[in-house]
């Protein structure tokens, strides 16, 4: 017997003038891979200075959405505006300049395995800043200290544990003092204590650097801890957006099923 769930209409995530919006505007973005339509006319607003957590089941397109923001993927249709600039048609040179404003923590950290931790962290400075070697090293060490990796600067990524890799990835992400930090599953695969340490780091960086953060996760403990606002992605669309308290108290059946981890509900089990 099928149950009819009352699904509220999706939240309005549009603005009248995206060019005048201070944060990030994702406007009607669609993306397919072969026959699979991952994003369907997706709209999302990310306000300046907030930590937005995007939740949703695995394979719903959260990471795909994140990669569109830095144009690692191009949308089939739709537009993305960052601080009033439309990035979909941006030429390579201004796109590279724009990317310098971003830090990105990958799910697997994506450290360059032929380089030491310190070289990984300092690479962006070496490439983009006309600094002396000493100044670059000092900044890299400062970032490694911020994530608690002071004694690991000369280690190779293969010598690090999963949590240390994530922290090294985070140090690399903040080395250029970015305005935006994107986190792709920052706590996946980590033990609860290391996960909490990563969450604390995200909050600490948010407070110290005042960045706009977008966190993609399905770890609800992490989401509740770091979020200012949460948005839920399901079936290629943002179906819910609200503060942490609103998420806790909402009767939206999809959100309830997700945060309670029920197999029964409108999201289905498989």
């Amino acid at each position: 017997m099928s149950i009819d769930y009352h699904i509220p209409p999706p939240p309005d995530q549009t603005v009248a003038d995206p060019a005048a919006f201070a944060g990030i505007v994702i406007e009607g973005v669609s993306k397919s891979f072969g026959a699979k339509e991952v994003l369907k006319d997706t709209n999302l607003l990310i306000h300046k200075g907030e930590t937005l957590v995007i939740i949703g089941r695995s394979g719903e397109g959260k990471s795909v959405l994140l990669k569109h923001i830095v144009r690692l993927l191009d949308p089939d249709s739709g537009k993305i505006w960052i601080e009033g600039e439309e990035i979909s048609l941006m030429e390579p040179a201004p796109l590279m300049e724009l990317r310098k404003k971003f830090g990105f923590l990958f799910q697997g950290a994506a450290l360059f395995d032929s380089m030491t931790v310190c070289e990984n962290v300092s690479l962006m400075l070496t490439e983009h800043m006309d600094w002396s070697d000493d100044k670059i090293k000092a900044r890299a060490c400062e970032c490694l200290a911020q994530v608690g990796l002071v004694d690991s600067d000369d280690k190779l990524p293969s010598e690090l544990s999963g949590g240390m890799k994530k922290r090294a990835g985070l140090a690399r992400a903040i080395v250029m003092k970015p305005r935006y930090i994107l986190y792709d599953e920052p706590t996946t695969g980590l033990d609860p204590i290391t996960s909490d340490a990563i969450n604390e780091l995200i909050i600490k960086l948010q407070r110290e650097l005042g960045v706009t953060s977008i966190v993609v996760t399905h770890d609800m403990a992490s989401a509740f801890k770091v979020a200012d606002r949460m948005a839920m992605l399901s079936n290629g669309k943002i179906v819910f957006s609200g503060t942490v308290d609103e998420v806790r108290t909402t009767d939206h059946p999809m959100v309830r099923q997700f945060i309670e981890g029920n197999a029964q509900g409108p999201l289905g089990a498989f």
Binding site: L72, M96, R99, L111, L123, M124, R172
Partner: protein, 262 residues
């Protein structure tokens, strides 16, 4: 039957698309070449991989290529051609054909597999994406140094291989085939032309660029996990070997029937 033609058509289209994308990659690499001085550390590291890393392989391969050429030449020439022509036969075969082609196949396969596997692993572990987000162009940072290292170093490896192969042929001829040292060396000098070595070197430069391009292209286009890296490596090596052999034919016509023809 219809399905068979559909498959053939699909493969042709994929092949043409890859050729087009490979050409675009070559264009990007050439556009990044002005930054070669800035990237000199990476270029030198890659040159070291090609030159020093390949030496044991080159040494063993070349000695035996020279030795086999000598044995085969003596067998073919006996009672038909005087042995004073043995040196010229070995040197011309090695300089024009065996040196450049065998080095492109042996050293090239090693290098091509290395590039494809290394860059393919970087692709599937999102290291290339990380580089892009860090506003570092992977073509400038990874492809351009590898391309020029292979293109410039494969000819040097080939010169070394030519010398070792001729020495191998000489040693076997003198030690086991009853050819005197003087007869062999006289033969070496007999019909020597600079264009033989130059032609072989021009071939090596082209082969080096084909090898690098195949490895880099397949590495950058790797999809999936470990299986994808394996498939990319296999495709890169097969593509490189086939391209080298096809290019060898056209270069032989251009170099020895048009440019160096008296």
């Amino acid at each position: 039957m219809e399905r068979f033609f559909e498959k053939i058509g699909h493969k042709v289209i994929v092949g043409l698309l890859n050729a087009g994308e490979g050409t675009l990659l070559l264009r990007s690499i050439l556009l990044q070449t002005p930054y070669i001085w800035k990237m000199r550390k990476e270029v030198l590291e890659q040159m070291h991989v090609v030159l020093i890393g390949s030496m044991p392989l080159v040494l063993v391969t070349s000695v035996f290529v020279g030795a086999v050429t000598a044995v085969q030449a003596v067998y073919q020439m006996q009672s038909l051609v005087p042995m004073k022509f043995l040196g010229v036969m070995i040197s011309k075969t090695v300089f024009i054909e065996l040196g450049p082609v065998l080095m492109a196949l042996v050293v090239g396969s090693r290098l091509c597999a290395f590039y494809a596997a290394e860059l393919g692993t970087m692709k599937v572990t999102e290291q290339l994406d990380a580089m892009n987000i860090m506003a570092i162009d992977p073509v400038r940072y990874l492809a351009m140094p590898r391309f020029w290292a292979a293109t410039l170093m494969i000819p040097i490896v080939t010169i070394f291989a030519d010398a070792v192969a001729v020495f191998g042929g000489y040693s076997i001829s003198v030690m086991t085939l009853d050819i005197s040292s003087g007869v062999f060396i006289e033969g070496l000098q007999m019909f020597y032309k600079h264009s033989d070595i130059l032609g072989g070197l021009i071939k090596s430069v082209v082969f080096g660029s084909i090898i690098a391009l195949s490895g880099i292209f397949n590495g950058f286009h790797t999809r999936g996990g470990a299986e994808g890296v394996g498939r990319a490596t296999m495709t890169a090596v097969v593509g490189s070997c086939l391209s080298v052999l096809v290019a060898d034919y056209f270069l032989a016509i251009i170099l020895f029937q048009i440019i160096f023809k008296k």
